[in-house]
């Protein structure tokens, strides 16, 4: 129900407390946080240590896509509350990039919806990562495995 696209960092504890506040019907919350890591995934001689990432996005379409992804999750699972925060701009290793949290009466829906949201977000939300290493900058290439992960959810559960 809450979607935020922002430059500022977020406090996971504060966000999860706000998500469950006043709803005793929630029996479990599953959350995923994505962080900037310092190593390029295709480790080779060309890959240096990553000193920063800059996330670019498509304002307007980003919010629309995230809202559509969230609506899909709510249609598939009985969620009491749902939160997506995605940052843009320049971030250094260790910083938060994304937070997805799903609350439900039972854990199965929370676990499944959280994983679904991340898989779909990675293949549909219009964000692009520009990586800075000591050798310069380069755009991160999309990974086939991310598309495969999103495709697993093409057949609605149940």
């Amino acid at each position: 129900m809450t979607i935020r696209v922002q430059q500022a960092d977020f406090d996971i504890g504060v966000e999860l407390a706000a998500l469950t506040q006043g709803n005793p019907g929630i029996g479990g919350v599953c959350c995923f946080t994505g962080l900037v890591r310092d190593l390029h995934p295709q480790a080779d001689e060309q890959a240096g240590t990553v000193c920063a990432l800059t996330l670019e996005h498509y304002p307007g379409m980003t919010e629309r896509q995230l809202a559509a992804i969230e609506a899909e999750a709510r249609a598939r699972w009985p969620l009491e509350a749902c939160l997506i925060i995605h940052r843009y701009g320049r971030m250094e290793p260790g910083e938060n990039i994304v937070l997805v949290a799903c609350a439900s009466a039972h854990r199965e829906a929370a676990f499944d919806a959280c994983r679904f949201l991340m898989d779909w977000l990675k293949s549909k939300a219009p964000f692009w990562k520009l990586e800075e290493t000591c050798r310069g900058t380069r755009w991160v290439a999309s990974r086939h495995s991310d598309e495969e992960a999103a495709r697993r959810w093409d057949q609605p559960a149940g």
């Binding site: 670019e56 498509y58 379409m61 977000l121 990675k122 549909k124 219009p126 692009w128 999309s142």
Partner: protein
């Protein structure tokens, strides 16, 4: 006029984040628009040389290359996304 938006390495190769374009006569879909853009200079030709890595959104929704384009549309060209 249509509004064109470019993101990530398409933006750097073309050298523009956005521009307005009068739709040339005879162009009615995304494929035709891309073919026209490819003739607009070396940066465009380079950015649009491998269409397997170009995604398109019209009015902020993903569309296939066969999707129509009409005056007033916002057309965005960008690489496969890498957020999350």
């Amino acid at each position: 006029m249509i509004k064109l938006l470019y993101f990530a390495w398409l933006r750097s190769k073309i050298g523009l984040a956005e521009e307005e374009l009068a739709l040339p006569p005879g162009i009615s879909d995304v494929a035709g628009l891309i073919a026209h853009l490819q003739t607009r200079g070396a940066g465009y030709a380079d950015a649009l040389s491998n269409l397997a890595v170009v995604k398109v959104a019209v009015n902020q929704e993903y569309v296939p290359f066969s999707h129509p384009v009409a005056p007033g549309d916002e057309v965005a060209l960008f690489p496969p996304v890498t957020g999350g």
